[in-house]
């Protein structure tokens, strides 16, 4: 029970972090059809910006400034990069962001060095909030949950209750029609792209000190965020939310349960020995393949249900 509650909480924190990244990506992807490979790179940039800013003026201004900087970078990418290659089709756009991801990783290495930087949790939040069955739950994780929940609420209200949100929703499903009605769709694209990257930056600010701020963090996070977006389905923020939490929980729980297929077969009275065919596959324990599960799920869902969990159209 103890393991279950602790894993549930940790999975929730990780899932919400995933959601902060994936929500921006899913908006960009469903609207412009661009799978932004540089999204996780901006997440990394957010963490590094926050680290540098917090060295001078502290963590709290960084919480505002770093996402703003990331949003500006996003707007620049959209206006001078994506819009230019747009006429060459989606593949060119995808390749552009792919190249940007390479460059950003290298620039980060060159600016902040190859080793992790000591980006730490602010002292104000560095205490255990409560205990579950003797395990401490840090206040910072609660803060992460709070920020991401606030953000989810803000996006939800923004999309449902404001005029801009309505136009975005219209452009999300019917870009040509929204454009024909006189809305400036390219400007909405820039806005959404900037907002999406700013969200990724915010995720970087609060995720960078929860995980490790290092040049490889974009590479480890990027593919998982893709999985979440594809799994949740195009054009659906709710699907994205469910997928994020689901992936967070899967990844955390997979580490906890030390079982393998061989154990499962043993329940039915089939013993797996070294001579059994595929013995190696059957003997692999769940924690070892935990990192694989999201990709397995993504491949399966793309093959059998390409529109994802709650998507409105095919990928």
């Amino acid at each position: 029970m103890e393991v279950f509650v602790v894993s549930l909480l940790n999975g929730l924190v990780y899932g919400m972090l995933l959601f902060m990244l994936a929500s921006g990506l899913t908006l960009i992807f469903s609207m412009m059809g661009v799978l932004n490979f540089a999204h996780a790179s901006v997440y990394m940039l957010g963490a590094y910006f926050a680290y540098t800013i917090s060295l001078y003026v502290g963590f709290w201004p960084a919480l505002i400034l770093a996402p703003l900087l990331c949003g500006l970078i996003g707007a620049a990418i959209e206006m001078w990069g994506l819009r230019r290659v747009h006429r060459h089709g989606h593949v060119a756009e995808l390749l552009l962001t792919f190249g940007l991801a390479l460059i950003i990783e290298k620039v980060v290495q060159m600016t902040w060095g190859l080793l992790p930087v000591p980006y730490r949790i602010p002292e104000l939040l560095d205490f255990p909030l409560f205990r579950v069955y003797g395990t401490q739950f840090p206040a910072y994780r609660a803060f992460m949950l709070l920020i991401s929940a606030l953000m989810f609420g803000a996006i939800w209200l923004g999309l449902r209750r404001t005029r801009v949100g309505l136009v975005i929703q219209a452009a999300l499903t019917h870009p040509e029609m929204a454009s024909a009605l006189g809305h400036n769709v390219p400007r909405i694209f820039t806005l959404v792209f900037a907002a999406g990257t700013a969200l990724a930056g915010l995720a970087g600010v609060i995720g960078g000190n929860y995980q490790v701020t290092e040049p490889a963090m974009a590479f480890t996070m990027g593919p998982i965020v893709f999985v979440v977006v594809v799994f949740g389905g195009l054009g659906s923020l709710t699907g994205c939310f469910i997928a994020s939490i689901f992936m967070g929980l899967i990844q955390t729980f997979a580490v906890v349960f030390d079982v393998s297929l061989a154990d499962l077969l043993a329940q039915f009275g089939i013993a797996v020995t070294a001579s059994t065919p595929f013995a190696e596959v059957l003997n692999v324990t769940l924690p070892r393949i935990g990192a694989l599960l999201p990709f397995l799920l993504m491949v399966l869902i793309l093959v059998f249900r390409p529109r994802g969990l709650m998507g409105t159209r095919d990928t």
Partner: protein, 425 residues
């Protein structure tokens, strides 16, 4: 005879490539330069890999992020085959080891292809990305086939050679690579003209119409994917023969990305584009990485410049000059090119200086290296070199913009003339 007359460039290329290593031949000691030969063998292998990648991207319009899976699995199959031959379990000539890799690639291309080719476009790209991650993680997990982090090692010196060659020297290996690369390139070129190759083009351009004509686009994709797997596997088999080891990074995303970079920089539209791109990427990778920490940044920037300004790639850029070549007015472009050269050079040098300064203040300093040009050490903390770099970058960019405008006017005028001349008679 007509075959020879039409295909002489292929034979010339083969002869040139066979003679090329002798440029680096050490006549005083009477032996080949090992570095040059290994580099050229690497280019040969990666060229096959890039060409097979272009069977998907260029011919069928399928953007794959996991092509290295087929390359790597082919390499593993070849490595196991060599070890079986060594153990005496099976008999196979040394020269046919890459074929074993190819058959491995064919098998996995067929099996995995069933899964991935159910979708096209972005969904295809995502499935291959996921598959690539799956296989590279599995490579570290299953010791039996992949050998874990240590990989599978082989000894390529076997007694089963058909030609009586033992492949102990890099020169012999280079000849093997060249032979297989030539055969693979010819086969891939011929495949483009088969009905399958043509239908792959059709499904790329308009898969709905291809359906109306009566073809199943999915089957076309599947067969194309399987064949691409075969050639990638041949590349993998040659890789094993060169390095005598295969590890999990042959299936990694980095390897797949390399193929994508090579194909796109070289140009996916022309058959030899990927080869051109491979030469550029491998030379940057092996040559520049000796001098600079930032080679990946240069490749990335080159890639972005190509995506933004020249999506046809290097081969496409060269091909654009063909009408002028035919009308014999190519030399009129010489002056505009010469005029654009100084600002381009200035921009390039400014950029390189800026990158290297940054790289040496952080990574270089951490490794205890100093920035030196021609024996002259440059102090990366003083503002002067930075100012020079930024100035060169700014002025170069501004100047190049103006020259590019003038160049464009001249180009358009020449093209207009060429078109009129071609239309007149």
């Amino acid at each position: 005879m007509t075959l020879l007359r039409r295909n002489w460039p292929w034979l010339v290329a083969l002869a040139v490539l066979l003679a090329f290593p002798f440029l680096f031949y050490d006549w005083t000691r009477g032996r080949h330069s090992g570095f040059a030969l290994t580099l050229m063998s690497e280019i040969g292998v990666m060229a096959i890999f890039a060409l097979s990648y272009n069977m998907l991207l260029g011919q069928a319009g399928l953007l794959s992020f996991g092509h290295a899976v087929l390359f790597g699995l082919g390499a593993y199959c070849a490595a196991h085959t060599v070890n079986l031959v060594k153990a005496g379990t099976i008999w196979l000539p040394t020269e046919l080891v890459p074929l074993a890799g190819g058959l491995g690639g064919l098998f996995f291309g067929f099996v995995l292809g069933w899964l991935v080719t159910k979708q096209r476009a972005t969904a295809f790209a995502m499935i291959t990305l996921g598959l690539g991650e799956l296989v590279s993680a599995a490579a570290l997990m299953f010791m039996g086939f992949f050998g874990g982090e240590g990989g599978i090692t082989i000894d390529r010196v076997m007694d089963t050679s058909l030609l009586g060659v033992r492949y102990t020297s890099p020169w012999q290996v280079y000849c093997l690579v060249l032979g297989w690369a030539f055969v693979a390139a010819v086969l891939m070129r011929l495949q483009m003209q088969t009905p399958l190759g043509r239908m792959a083009n059709a499904t790329r351009d308009n898969f709905e119409r291809a359906q109306f004509v009566g073809y199943d686009p999915r089957r076309v994709r599947w067969m194309q994917f399987t064949l691409a797997g075969f050639f990638a596997g041949v590349g993998g088999g040659l890789y094993v023969m060169i390095y005598e080891i295969v590890t999990f990074d042959t299936v990694s995303a980095v390897k797949s990305a390399n193929a994508l970079l090579a194909v796109y920089i070289g140009g996916a539209g022309a058959f030899f584009g990927p080869v051109l791109g491979t030469i550029v990427v491998v030379l940057l990778q092996s040559g520049v990485s000796l001098l600079s920490n930032a080679w990946l940044l240069y490749v990335g920037v080159l890639f972005i410049v190509m995506v933004m300004y020249a999506p046809v790639g290097l081969a496409g850029l060269i091909g654009m000059h063909a009408p002028l070549w035919r009308t014999g007015r190519l030399r009129e472009l010489l002056l505009p090119y010469l005029r654009a050269l100084p600002p381009a050079l200035m921009l390039f040098l400014g950029f390189v200086l800026l990158v290297e300064l940054t790289s040496f203040t952080t990574i270089g300093a951490a490794q205890g290296k100093r920035f030196a040009i021609g024996g002259q050490t440059i102090d990366t903390t003083s503002p002067l070199p930075w100012a020079i770099a930024v100035a060169a970058l700014g002025v170069g960019a501004f100047w190049l913009r103006r020259e590019a405008h003038a160049f464009r006017l001249r180009w358009d005028a020449l093209m207009e003339d060429a078109k009129r001349q071609a239309g007149a008679p």
